[in-house]
């Protein structure tokens, strides 16, 4: 339970920051893709650099977490259809002006249409499970 409350707090922080920096704003996302306003691109780039420096710092300190366990970095392996999946995701990102994280911030902010984006994501996730049930090795 303590772990879950910790994640509730981290989630709160993440949602708060996404909202305050405008990452949940349709206009900001759309304008990043049209190249008119790179505010959000700079946010993402800064986050990547800071995240990288933070991971380097942890490594320099012995790569241990708070409880003294070795930090196990999770690497994502690509499947056969990952590239196509990424293309579909990109189209959704540009269409809905949200990604799986920012849509949650949009809902918190009271943006009604985000509920439909969210429902669509649940349906898409279910569809993935359904496809895997029919063709188990499809994305191996």
């Amino acid at each position: 339970m303590r772990k879950k409350l910790c994640f509730l707090a981290f989630g709160f922080y993440f949602g708060f920051v996404l909202s305050r920096v405008g990452a949940s704003d349709y206009q900001v996302i759309f304008r990043m893709f049209t190249g008119e306003d790179l505010h959000l691109a700079w946010v993402i780039l800064t986050a990547i650099i800071v995240g990288n420096l933070g991971m380097r710092y942890l490594k320099a300190r012995g790569n241990l977490d708070r409880d003294g366990r070795a930090i196990a970095i999770k690497k994502k392996e690509l499947g056969r259809l990952s590239i196509i999946g990424a293309a579909i995701f990109g189209i959704g990102w540009g269409m809905a002006g949200a990604c799986p994280g920012t849509v949650l911030a949009q809902i918190g902010e009271g943006r009604i249409l985000a509920l439909f984006t969210f429902s669509g994501m649940l349906a898409g996730t279910y569809l993935y499970g359904y496809i895997l049930a029919r063709w188990p090795g499809v994305n191996k």
């Binding site: 989630g11 990102w93 269409m95 949650l104």
Partner: protein
């Protein structure tokens, strides 16, 4: 001061630094990789009580796992941010889109549902989303995440260009 923190949109570097810190912080405190979209699997399992084999896997063994709490926290955090900034409690939410076009409500709903469907399906096949691949993955210099992120962005640009020329008639938004 209150205005700068709670009302005005933050400068990009403030948000970038605070989001970036999440990556090492989650590893340090919970030995966990930052990621959001896998949690949608937990939500689907909770809502549909589905027997899909994918949802019976080890990843979703704890149905009400931390991912659900992370998602709930994100909604709450943005809710508080929205209240403090003086946003209306409920709005249509995609102002530039809904103001330029004049669609009936159900057409917007369908449009965003389809966008969401692409996001949900695409994220699973890609193995993650913006936070898991683009931020966590690239911060750890994973080649797979760099490739995936480039494709995310290229197709986001294509979708926005299409939207702009076809739906909005080339007009500004």
């Amino acid at each position: 001061m209150f205005q700068a923190i709670f009302v005005n949109t933050w400068p990009w570097w403030v948000g970038g630094v605070l989001i970036g810190l999440l990556v090492p912080a989650l590893y340090f405190f919970q030995n966990t990789a930052l990621g959001v979209s896998t949690g949608y699997g937990n939500l689907v399992k909770i809502i549909s009580r589905s027997s899909l084999p994918w949802l019976q896997g080890e990843k979703f063994a704890d149905t009400w796992g931390w991912r659900v709490f992370f998602i709930a926290g994100m909604i709450l955090g943005a809710f508080v941010a929205g209240r403090l900034s003086g946003r209306p409690l409920i709005s249509r939410g995609m102002p530039l889109f809904t103001e330029v076009l004049n669609w009936p409500f159900f057409a917007y709903a369908l449009y965003f549902f389809i966008g969401g469907l692409f996001l949900g399906l695409g994220a699973r096949f890609a193995g993650g989303c913006t936070s898991g691949h683009s931020i966590h993955g690239i911060a750890n210099l994973h080649k797979s995440s760099i490739i995936i992120t480039i494709i995310f962005l290229v197709f986001g640009v294509i979708a926005a260009a299409f939207l702009r020329t076809v739906l909005l008639g080339g007009g500004g938004m």
